[in-house]
């Protein structure tokens, strides 16, 4: 049985179709990423998975239970960390956890062990007496995560948990997610940061309420058919103009001290030789990033919709 099964899910807000009939499954125990820019429909989708809004069309099954009919049961199975989490700023870390334990009716005899486990995961043990409002951004996120885990849910759903979190805390947060996953928990996490796709087992690239692609990050990269090169040159703007004039160049993007050039097929030695005469210093074939793949898929989608 799938942990999550989504069939033809559709959601409208007035004229806006936020999610346009999508279909996918999440396997038990996987770390599943929903990757898309602001406005893609990520929050709508996650809220629907948590029974917080009902589909206009289609079905969502959580451990086989339909979100239309089994709200209470599903909420016991799911832990949800919304984008803007309302921690009680003037309660301590420990009081916040106890508050959520009360809310989810965690039995007294299990509570101490659960809290200890969460302190270990979150590394918040030394801060249990500190007011939530006095925690750093990274620690607040870890407390919010702990509150979402208080009732030992099978499935953890996180809406952009690393938004605005610094790179060191972010790395730690992802390490913690891996620890939680190792305990058997299924994790669905959304992010607008493309580079975080590489940290998931499988990712869904999500854009304007539609699924652009769904696969392992490495498989998505393997499907990218176009040779991509990183180029350094004496004068990048001139080099950019030069490559823009060549046939077989799909796109050129400036990246700080270099250019990324994507070709329709592998360029020959003569191309590089001529480019050297134009001031090319160094070139290397690089793997595409998830951002490259996302760009490619959205561009293709636009072309197709123009042709239809």
């Amino acid at each position: 049985m799938y942990a999550i099964k989504v069939r033809q899910f559709r959601k409208r807000y007035g004229d806006l179709e936020a999610v346009r009939g999508i279909q996918f499954e999440v396997e038990p125990g996987e770390l599943f990423g929903i990757i898309g820019p602001d406005g893609a429909g990520k929050t709508t989708l996650l809220r629907a998975l948590c029974t917080l809004l009902l589909p206009d069309d289609g079905e969502i099954l959580i451990n086989g239970l339909n979100t239309r009919h089994h709200v209470a049961d599903i909420r016991q199975i799911i832990g949800y960390m919304p984008q803007r989490f309302s921690l009680y700023q003037d309660l301590t870390v420990e009081q916040n956890l106890n508050f959520f334990a009360d809310l989810f009716q965690v039995p007294e005899d299990e509570r101490r062990a659960r809290l200890e486990q969460l302190y270990r995961f979150s590394r918040l043990g030394p801060f249990k007496k500190r007011a939530a409002g006095a925690l750093s951004g990274g620690m607040k996120q870890k407390l919010a995560l702990s509150c979402a885990l208080i009732h030992t849910p099978d499935i953890l759903i996180l809406d952009e948990p690393t938004f605005g979190v610094d790179p060191v805390s972010r790395q730690e947060f992802w390490d913690i997610l891996r620890d939680i996953q190792r305990q058997g928990t299924t994790i669905v996490v959304s992010t607008a940061y493309m580079e975080e796709a590489d940290l998931c087992d499988r990712v869904m690239l999500f854009h304007q309420g539609r699924i652009l692609a769904l696969d392992q990050p490495s498989a998505l990269k393997a499907q990218y058919r176009f040779p991509l090169y990183r180029i350094e040159a004496d004068h990048l703007p001139e080099m950019q103009t030069y490559f823009a004039g060549l046939s077989g160049v799909r796109f050129i993007q400036r990246f700080g001290d270099s250019l990324h050039v994507s070709f329709t097929r592998e360029p020959g030695d003569d191309l590089w030789q001529t480019a050297r005469d134009q001031g090319l210093q160094r070139f290397e074939r690089i793997a595409p990033s998830i951002e490259d793949i996302f760009m490619d898929l959205t561009t293709r989608e636009e072309h197709e919709s123009v042709e239809h």
Partner: protein, 245 residues
């Protein structure tokens, strides 16, 4: 190349805590320079000194030719700032937002009109000048926010996570606009938590516990530390600095 921002052993202490510790740095006109660091690394304190909002404890800094010790008002007039969640008025049109900010910067009406025309052209917003800001797609709001930051024609602009959350196409086209802005000779400072955003900078400076622990072009740093991404460079540097401390 002319130096736009120069610091020598720039230091700021708060009581016994040293927020910025002997930072020495030259940044050039036309350069896009990224400041990277964890929370508390000292980025914000450094930027507050460079924008004339905070006096150093020790050391020297010149910004656009003015001294941070005695000429902070002159510095403030030569700085543009674009915040992460752009402070645009949603119920004004794009054009009204620019006029409003022109007033804030104390520009004359004719100056505002002239700058508006130049900036709408520069950021590619002409067709949307009369649209309500709330109806603009995120990518265009971002362009409008940059236009507001450039209104008083500052030589130096600070951008805080300028492209977080926008789709990759809008992001790349916004960076192209930043490159065009740099080509006008403006110096752009970018602060970001996202290392893929750092890849777009000409050079980045990585801060840790108040010190500038590495400075260089992203490509060079990746080669130097033998890593494939800036995130890996950052984490490696951070760990070795923690161990040294």
């Amino acid at each position: 190349m002319n130096i736009s921002v120069q610091t020598r052993n720039l230091t700021r202490r708060f009581g016994r805590f040293t927020a910025v510790d002997r930072v020495t740095l030259d940044v050039y006109e036309g350069e896009i320079f990224g400041f990277l660091g964890a929370n508390g690394a000292g980025k914000t304190t450094l930027i507050r000194m460079l924008t004339g909002l905070l006096k150093p404890t020790e050391g020297e800094a010149q910004v656009a030719g003015f001294d941070v010790w005695g000429q902070s008002e002159a510095i403030k007039r030569r700085i543009g700032y674009m915040s992460q969640r752009f402070s645009l008025y949603e119920d004004l049109t794009a054009e009204e937002n620019l006029t409003f900010y022109g007033g804030i910067y104390g520009l004359r009406r004719d100056q505002i009109e002239q700058r508006k025309a130049i900036l709408f052209e520069h950021v590619g917003l002409q067709p949307f000048a009369g649209q309500m800001t709330r109806d603009l797609p995120l990518g265009f709001k971002q362009r409008l926010a940059l236009a507001c930051a450039l209104l008083h024609d500052p030589p130096i602009v600070f951008l805080d996570e300028p492209t977080s959350g926008v789709d990759p196409k809008a992001r790349r086209s916004f960076w192209n606009l930043i490159y065009q802005t740099a080509q006008l000779g403006k110096t752009l400072f970018v602060t970001t938590h996202f290392m893929d955003e750092a890849e777009y900078c000409h050079r980045v400076g990585i801060m840790h516990m108040g010190r500038m622990i590495a400075v260089g072009p992203p490509g060079q740093l990746k080669r130097q530390y033998d890593k494939s991404t800036m995130q890996e460079v950052f984490i490696a540097l951070h760990q070795s600095s923690e161990e040294a401390a």
